[in-house]
Subunit: 437 residues, 2 copies
């Protein structure tokens, strides 16, 4: 046995909301099993909270509680720090200080990992400790673990997934119950699936952050998250579902990453996917990640992408791994295996895809001709064109729906710009990419 072995691994928990409470419960419930797995007891010594008076789960020993970060981060006896505070401040500062003090860190913080992941990983490696972040992507789905361990010998060619449960819930309601976006959003808010201020979710940023974190493991890629192509679901209309359905599709919000060799294509946006595809049938708040490995072939992981207990399960799984590495005197080995290279992102204009287009027009003779001509001029060729309702006098707005053949997105955008200001256009033309997932 190594001389580094200790009788206990000392843990500090930062934050004790519902996730933190779940972590304490799972650590307590599995105390003996974990001691055997790690080769040492897992001992919680500090729980850092903002409000000492707030009631906590029964598994939280009152003597652990403190509101003084110095007492926690300045304690040299702490081996592992679990961060379940979320957001940038003060989580970033706490994690940075913990790593500098040579403590391994488990974090559930996707914002932190998406915006400062590479810097924090480097800091962990420089200090010979580990940084684990399974819970920051996809709640309880073992995405990071699968990419890091199960696919250790493989190369990921591409991945796509439903990474935001709020968007998926809203789109599922719109499809299954014909709900309008606002109605579905309100329902999601009532059920606690969406925040009062929902833009992080419904504008696609949450999915984009998770894609950036996943891409670190999948592609060894360090990217500028701000350059990513991100679109939300506010512009998806009930009529889009009706027509998507008629063409054999439904609409999902997807995050997509593809290795292009020197560059990486990363995007998060709504997409038409074939109704019979597996991903089309991942409904409600479920998340899904589909990985295409060179040797492994396709691999799909589905589960609750958020929620307190699934997230706690992932935090605890990481905690056991890091405690074991710590006790074995080999902290940092797992994190050193993450190799990051700066990768530039492919311009969205270079994407080759098929598109679903919607033009809300004031109906009058010649409108279809103008649209078709504009598309043709920009080498966008039409596969289907549908104009259903016709108003008697041309005063009402009717939708013109088009499915294109494969074309370059730059050309499509130019074509749409060229008709956007025509007098018959009631609103800006919209497009949704079609993904053959």
């Amino acid at each position: 046995m190594s001389s580094n072995k200790k009788s206990s691994v000392r843990i500090a928990l930062l934050g004790c909301g519902t996730v933190g409470g779940g972590v304490l419960r799972l650590l307590e419930e599995n105390r003996d099993a974990f001691a055997e797995r790690v080769g040492a007891r897992l001992e919680v010594v500090h729980v850092l909270v903002k409000d000492l008076k707030k009631p906590r789960v029964p598994e939280c020993d009152a003597s652990w509680l403190t509101d003084d970060p110095e007492r926690v981060l300045g304690d040299p006896s702490v081996d592992l720090v679990l961060e379940v505070i979320g957001g940038e401040h003060p989580a970033r500062d706490f994690v940075t200080r913990a790593l500098r003090a040579k403590k391994s860190v488990v974090t559930a913080n996707k914002f932190l990992m998406a915006h400062h992941g590479p810097e924090l990983i480097r800091l962990a490696v420089d200090n010979g400790v580990d940084l684990a972040f399974e819970a920051s992507v996809g709640g309880g789905i073992p995405v990071i673990r699968t990419l890091h361990d199960a696919l250790a010998s493989d190369r990921v060619l591409s991945l796509h997934g439903i990474l935001n449960g709020t968007c998926n819930y809203i789109l599922t309601q719109m499809r299954s119950h014909g709900a309008a976006f606002d109605v579905a959003l309100a329902a999601a808010q009532r059920l606690g699936y969406a925040e009062a201020e929902p833009s992080l979710d419904v504008d696609g940023h949450d999915a984009a952050q998770k894609l950036v974190v996943t891409s670190m493991l999948a592609f060894g890629a360090q990217v500028n998250a701000a350059e990513m192509q991100v679109e939300g679901i506010r512009a998806v209309d009930q009529i889009d579902f009706t027509f998507a359905d008629r063409f054999g599709y439904t609409i999902k919000h997807l995050a997509i990453g593809r290795d292009l060799g020197d560059r990486l294509s990363l995007r998060a946006h709504p997409a038409l996917v074939p109704k019979s595809s597996v991903i089309a049938n991942i409904d409600g708040v479920l998340n899904a990640v589909f990985i295409m490995g060179r040797a492994l072939g396709p691999c799909l992981l589905v589960g609750r992408g958020a929620g307190d207990m699934p997230t706690a399960v992932s935090v605890v799984a990481d905690t056991v791994d890091l405690a074991r590495a710590r006790n074995e005197g080999q902290p940092g080995l797992a994190t050193r295996a993450i190799k990051l290279n700066q990768k530039s992102l492919e311009s969205g204009d270079n994407l080759e895809s098929r598109y679903y287009l919607r033009f809300d027009v004031k109906d009058s003779p010649g409108v279809l001709g103008v649209i078709a001509t504009a598309l043709g001029k920009h080498e966008v060729s039409i596969e289907h064109m549908v104009q259903d309702g016709r108003s008697e006098d041309g005063s009402e707005t009717v939708p013109v729906l088009i499915i294109t053949h494969t074309c370059r997105e730059g050309r499509l955008r130019a074509a749409l710009s060229s008709v956007a200001h025509e007098s018959f256009m009631s609103s800006a033309p919209r497009f949704i990419r079609i993904e053959q997932v």
Copy 2:
């Protein structure tokens, strides 16, 4: 650093067919990355084969090859043994000897693990080494890893899955192309998805073996595999798909495990599943495992359940883990975490389910009455009853299809027995369980 650290971990590969060749290729391609992960080089020192003259992959150094098991198993310098021979003999003997000689073992052998898993795990624990077997279940899908590591703090309530790619391919062909069973089987054999002697796959035994192995991790259960309820797909007829479809279902071959506290329900059989369920849409040779965790909620893993490279990826992932544990001087820790308790299996007669029934009858007045009366006598209540075609003179066989309400399987079997010998029955009545997956 611990004093146990060595500059290399020495590996013996038993078997060098397509999986073994893939393992050698992946070890070579990732040599430097694995050395860093493990903290020591992974060095192949022996490759045991039956035929020294057979050509091998270029990554196989000729000096490694031997057809003498003694040279491999008797070499005290070997740390890790990778078994990719398959079947009972001589794999069981080789793995047993390797574990006794205190070498950690990675195996891709589902037969071995299903029939001797608990005994081999105990042997590994007794000798302070590890036994890893991810590749024995679901090829490249990280099922074992997810159950063992990601769900370390959770309790699995139930799992169900499509664990045999051959059955899934055949059923998919029957559904999508209206193929008869024999035609679909022949196609599977042509494509290499089914063996010339297909009974291991199509009679359900392969899925049953994988379920037994998965249940060790999911439920900590050691069961008598021979007592399991196993049915294959030979009796599934094209007409069953037609009627399943009419009622909103399709047919999949499922392996199902459920924790009943003191007992375990384990079964593998065809099942009607709702067409809109995710599992209904896992088609072709894909496998899927759906895990329901108490804290985690639902988690679904999908991928290629077999195939040389996916299996090799899993063997190599296990190899890296065990090499690391070995190099850290902590072999056996992961395997010791597998706790097995002898569990008895629930009798199939106690199952409560809805059923799809097919009676092939010589049409004559009163037949439906006899069938309905027999079911009623045994407290099997009918939800739908369909008799489509009618022959003019009662000489032809026509199918009577029934969907029951929930009932006990023992009662259903008694009811079916009571009509099986009626003169109007052209063949034995059949049933397929309906699973609300």
